[in-house]
């Protein structure tokens, strides 16, 4: 704040005096003093590098005495080994060619054994005749700049390292992924072979009967537990079975294998359906009664016996398995109920339900596992295809040969898409309306 009513002070006289004094001091500053005490190093060398003159600033930076330097050493002698090499291969040749160089990074040795990073500029002084006479060099202390550059370099190295590590990690992940994929492929191949070993290679040709089978694998990486078989008992009679063991995976597969071979061997010793299932029940119960989770299966076992007139009698027993379905030549479809049959393997003795029917020419018997009836047909968890829909679907197909029925049902299974999340086995046995001209066989799908 200043008072407006006061005369302004005369200004400038004091400052002018100061400036004048400063200029006077500068003028009194000799060129010699300026050279010696400049804020940068100065040196002049002969063309062979011998130092002819050097200022006090550079000497003090390097910790050297003037007498030990002038006329005694060359500029390169003051450089670190790296600096010396660079000077010889780059600096000196370029200076020779151009007569001038600016801002070259070098390192000088100090008397104490340390290193002084410097930026060097040199210019060649020529004689009036154009001959090079001497080299004038200025030296700037570049310690701070070097520290900054090293920091930059360190950061860049860190960034490169991080990038390299990220790339390495990405490559390893990719390798692991490819390995996992290859492993999955091998697993799927192995499982497919195993799964196939649990089913007949091909259904045998039966006199007066057409058979067709189908197997849907829900996952190539998971062994399913469904199985079926069809085989002769003696010259006249045949046996068949279709079942579903609890669970999935290797344990289910071993149970499947055990069930299949037990039923096949039981069929030859005691071919009555109830007897075969009882044998299986005993084997499974004894095998798995000791601790662990319950291991059981549902299964329908049946006998086929041809009758005069092309008819075939079917006698079957069920242990907890969904009812078989019969498609008649007249276009109807009906279940062959087996209520009260119990899961096989959970109790020491188990009740099994029997049923009997006769297949006339044009009739077809269908056995299936619950993958078919429990396929989801809607977004809700419990909107399942169900037995009623199956019967309706079958009635629409009837009359159908075994192969026609299996073809229609495999199409149906496919239409379920993701709704079909369980393995599903189908076995159809049909009496042809005319004696077959060729044995009908079918490989598992």
């Amino acid at each position: 704040m200043s008072r407006v009513d006061e005369e302004p002070e005369p200004t400038g006289t004091g400052d002018e005096a100061g400036t004048t004094a400063a200029f006077t001091a500068l003028l009194e500053d000799s060129a010699e003093e300026l050279y010696e005490s400049a804020p940068c190093g100065y040196l002049s060398t002969l063309m062979d590098g011998t130092i002819a003159k050097v200022n006090a600033t550079l000497l003090s930076w390097l910790g050297l005495e003037c007498a030990a330097v002038v006329g005694r050493v060359r500029f390169t002698d003051l450089l670190s080994i790296g600096g010396k090499l660079y000077h010889e291969t780059h600096f000196a040749p370029l200076l020779q060619m151009q007569g001038e160089l600016r801002g070259i990074a070098l390192e000088m040795k100090t008397a104490g054994g340390g290193r002084l990073p410097v930026l060097v500029s040199s210019v060649v002084k020529y004689t009036s005749g154009g001959e090079p006479l001497l080299i004038r060099t200025t030296v700037f202390d570049a310690s701070d700049r070097r520290a900054y550059e090293q920091e930059l370099l360190r950061r860049r190295q860190e960034a490169e390292q991080a990038r390299a590590e990220a790339e390495q990690a990405r490559m390893e992940a990719e390798q692991a992924r490819q390995q996992a994929e290859a492993d999955r492929g091998r697993l799927a191949d192995a499982l497919a072979v195993l799964q196939k070993s649990l089913l007949p290679d091909a259904l045998p040709a039966l006199p007066g009967l057409e058979a067709a089978g189908y197997y849907h694998t829900a996952s190539p990486y998971q062994l399913g537990g469904d199985f079926y078989d069809l085989f002769p008992l003696d010259e006249d009679r045949w046996a068949f079975f279709l079942g579903d063991v609890c669970g999935k995976g290797p344990q289910a597969a071993s149970l499947t294998s055990l069930s299949r071979y037990t039923l096949r061997s039981a069929a030859h010793h005691a071919p009555e359906p109830i007897a075969a299932l009882t044998t299986l029940n005993t084997v499974l119960h004894e095998r798995f009664t000791n601790g662990g989770d319950p291991r059981y299966c549902t299964v329908i076992f049946g006998q086929l016996e041809p009758q005069p007139g092309g008819h075939v009698t079917v006698r079957l027993a069920s242990g907890g398995h969904p009812s078989a379905l019969v498609l008649r030549a007249d276009g109807t479809a009906e279940f062959l109920p087996t209520p009260g049959g119990l899961l096989v393997g959970i109790l020491p003795t188990a009740p099994f339900a029997t049923a009997e029917t006769t297949l006339a020419p044009g009739d077809t018997l269908l056995l299936y596992t619950d993958g078919l009836t429990e396929a989801r047909t809607g977004p809700a968890r419990d909107s399942l295809f169900g037995e009623d829909a199956l019967r309706t679907f079958a009635a629409c197909q009837a009359p159908a040969t075994a192969q026609e029925l299996i073809t229609a049902l495999s199409g149906l299974l496919e239409s379920f898409g993701d709704g079909l999340d369980d393995d599903t086995a189908l076995l159809a046995l049909g009496v042809p309306t005319h004696p077959p001209t060729r044995p009908a066989t079918n490989r598992p799908g």
Partner: protein, 109 residues
């Protein structure tokens, strides 16, 4: 997807497990664990109340059978109560309606 929720209370006759949600491949093991840790005494009855059960597939059936084995091994009994119709249908198909004691309500004896 309905999550499985199991709540336990102890009645005079023994533990009562109320099961709500889905007993399927992913969730049934939770019930298996729960029952495996029950310390049943001879003469008790393990009651599994299925009134809140929305879905049960074959893995659910296996877990119920495992619970039964465990109860019998401990000299106890097991009862399923308030079995929903769709599960009842499955139990009937596999014949387990003859194996399990099945009661309409939790408080019925």
């Amino acid at each position: 997807m309905s999550l499985l929720k199991i709540t336990r209370r102890d009645a005079a006759t023994g533990p009562v497990l109320h099961v709500a949600g889905a007993l399927d491949y992913d969730q049934a093991p939770a019930l298996r664990q729960q029952t495996a840790h029950l310390a049943l005494k001879p003469g008790q009855c393990l009651v599994i109340d299925l009134s809140g059960l929305e879905f049960c597939d074959s893995t659910g059936i296996t877990v119920l059978l495992a619970a039964r084995q465990q109860a019998l091994a401990a000299g106890a009994d097991i009862a399923l109560v308030a079995v929903p119709p769709n599960t009842m249908r499955i139990l009937t198909v596999v014949g387990l309606d003859q194996v399990f004691t099945i009661r309409p309500h939790a408080d019925s004896n």
